[in-house]
Symmetry: C2
Subunit: 225 residues, 2 copies
DNA sequence: TGGGAAATTTAGTTTAGCCTAAATTATATT
DNA sequence: AATATAATTTAGGCTAAACTAAATTTCCCA
């Protein structure tokens, strides 16, 4: 099953399975259903089709979720490269803000040709990160190893640089912009509240510290310095 | 039936019906089928769906082809604006040549948002023509009146400027580039052959005249000067 | 270790959009 | 006006991708 006969639905499933495998360690039927906003029954149907495709795109064991085959992995990375290049292009070249790029890229990613992918990459100077700090697979579809530490895992006294934002909803992104917390920004943990795990954080170049709850700090990944 | 629930197939049908109506004066089942490379039976099925949509997008009289309703016309122009803006953008901003832009635009036209349409238009300075010389509907979806004269209709002695190229296949476009005949180029008819209607033409800035057959001259539209 | 809740799969439908083959209608020619 | 040919529609079928409802399996805990 070459790239040409992958449908939009299939590409979305592969991308979701890839991302769930990275974040959760596995991709279960119900999690996939949640991410794609379809019913679990629909996911089972699709997983079974993907597993019996030629060549198979996922390995399927009843009641135990889906795992990408090398072919499925390659197809997923291709879509992810499209997505992240598009997000970067929309921001750099067309003046979108980082909270506006996702929905547009989510549709365009399935229809751009390899030619357009390459021209976009060239015109941007082959970027390695998208606006949310996510790494862009290179031309050979390789991703750098990611060492991920959640902001929520830091202890008072630690210093770090913002790396990327996971599940970047427009609302979260606009909020982060407003407090000056974007990829590469430096920060220092001042203290942690007893019960609710709120963090008081001093953000680089900001006059006042902010207090952030888990809803925010679990979505922000950092590099400890 | 708002823009949101128009499928790719529907948009392609509406666009084709619009273009056939302009070029042939009407859109028959078989011509639509040819253009879209589907069977006539499929076209009948789709026309009937479009006619009974709410609101109807075409007027349908059995055995007499389809005519766009105002709603259908609006939807068609929306897709055509997308298509021609995209072609222009691909050429101007990403360095595509005029024979490469069509296929890419044909897929992208269905998935870009109004927001992206507007940003592309802005970044290009609201162009009024695409790379093939076709007019781009403005923001209100108005098209300028077109006075079309085919190059093949000119008589020896007449002078004209190239306006646009109809049904622009990549092969035709590459050929026209190679002889220096692109929109706005000036030319003069030297003479016409007796039986085959070949035209001998002097093209502006070219050392030698060229002889072109109907296959070419019927696809090139000009403005007599 | 045996239920019960949660997760997952099966079975049966639906809709869009295409197909082929056969039937029908329009048009053109004599 | 009758008939041949071309254009179009009808009938029936297929695949992709979704859904709901019911059945089944897994897993966790008392
Ligand atoms: Mn998508
Ligand atoms: Mn690619
Ligand atoms: Mn199209
Ligand atoms: Mn538009």
């Amino acid at each position: 099953m070459l790239r040409e006969n992958l449908t939009v639905a299939i590409e979305d499933y592969l991308k979701t399975i890839h991302e769930l495998t990275l974040t959760d360690g596995r991709a279960t039927t119900n999690r996939i259903a949640e991410c794609l906003e379809v019913t679990p029954a629909s996911v089972t149907g699709m997983i079974q089709r993907l597993a019996s495709a030629d060549p198979p795109l996922v390995a399927y064991h009843k009641h135990h979720g889906a795992k990408l085959t090398p072919d499925g992995e390659r197809a997923a990375l291709e879509v992810i490269r499209h997505h992240r290049l598009l997000e970067t292009f929309l921001q750099q070249t067309l003046g979108y803000t980082w909270d506006e790029v996702h929905a547009e890229a989510d549709r365009l990613e399935h229809v751009i040709s390899e030619e357009l992918e390459e021209r976009i990459a060239q015109s941007l100077g082959n970027p390695t990160q998208d606006p949310h700090g996510e790494p862009i697979p290179n031309r050979e579809l390789q991703l750098p190893e990611q060492s991920w530490v959640r902001l929520s895992d830091l202890a008072p006294g630690q210093r770090a640089a913002v790396q990327r934002v996971g599940s970047p909803t427009p609302e979260l992104l606009r909020y982060l912009s407003s407090i000056g917390m974007v990829p590469t920004t430096g920060l220092a943990i001042l203290d942690r509240s007893e019960f609710d795990d709120n963090l008081r954080i001093q953000i680089e170049n900001q006059p006042e510290p902010v207090v952030l709850g888990l809803k925010v700090t679990q979505q922000v990944y950092v590099e400890v310095v």
